[in-house]
């Protein structure tokens, strides 16, 4: 059951999406927004032009964070680890954004990803309820607009070291 009226979600996304779309155009990423499904898909390239497909869904955003995951870049199916890039090790940003864990075996581990919270099968029970997602401190990554989330995830992909596992 949704917490927010669909109109409120659309209203917020209408604020966020122009920036996100402009960011994607500047970086030549394919940007596919499905308004009815509240679903964004973005094509990203890792080193050696390895293709990745990022998906975000936005039910109850911004009261709750989006769900971000990687899909099979050929079929847009959920395939778990093979869809995900491997964060550089050691991370140039201190700690990796993409780690093992969660319901898919790999998760984008940031407060702006619903799937990182225990409530959604993620590893972070210490963050409390999903609604806490914007209340974080410290040196960890922070993003509260769609475009900023995309930019941070894209940065992680840009210096990744290959897939978590071979595509099936």
């Amino acid at each position: 059951m949704s917490l927010l009226p669909l109109l409120a979600v659309h209203s917020r996304l209408q604020e966020d999406l122009p920036g996100a779309r402009a960011w994607a155009e500047r970086h030549e990423h394919d940007f596919d927004w499905d308004e009815e499904a509240l679903r964004l898909r973005l094509s990203l390239k890792g080193p050696d032009a390895e293709a990745y497909l990022l998906e975000g869904t936005f039910e109850d955003f911004p009261t709750l964070p989006p769900s971000w995951r990687f899909l099979d870049p050929r079929t847009a199916e959920r395939i778990g680890p093979p869809a995900y890039p491997t964060s550089a090790e050691p991370s140039p940003r201190g700690t990796a954004l993409i780690i093992n864990g969660g319901t898919e075996g790999v998760v984008i581990c940031a407060h702006f990803n619903r799937l990182a919270f225990t409530e959604e099968g993620g590893i972070h029970g210490d963050w409390g309820p999903l609604a806490n997602w914007q209340n974080q401190a410290g040196d960890y990554t922070y993003a509260n607009t769609v475009a900023d989330m995309l930019a941070r995830i894209a940065l992680e992909v840009s210096d990744s070291t290959g897939r978590k596992a071979a595509l099936p």
């Binding site: 402009a22 960011w23 940003r93 990796a96 954004l97 407060h111 922070y142 509260n144």
Partner: protein
């Protein structure tokens, strides 16, 4: 054009750059001293774009620049187009 406090009366060349932030469709122009650090410049740009939290840096051609380096040492040149990006780690 935004001009930082460190620009006024400082030694070194002036760099005029355009900075884009993910959240904004439009870029903003800045005028910085070449000896300013990337981190200080990024913090200033982030504030102009309304960022209140995070660890911003500037990126050039998709590569995040070292916050501790001076702008020219990091590869920033007059006329560059740069992008703000958060470089906080994963949690």
């Amino acid at each position: 054009m935004n001009q930082s406090a460190s620009q006024k009366g400082g030694h070194g060349k002036e760099l005029k750059v355009t900075v884009f932030a993910p959240r904004s469709p439009e870029g903003k122009k800045f005028k910085w001293n070449e000896h300013m650090t990337v981190g200080a410049a990024a913090d200033e740009a982030a504030k102009e774009f309304g960022y209140a939290q995070g660890t911003p840096t500037l990126a050039k051609h998709g590569s995040a620049l070292d916050r501790d380096k001076e702008l020219t040492t990091a590869g920033v040149r007059d006329g560059d187009k740069l992008e703000l990006v958060d470089i906080g780690g994963g949690v």
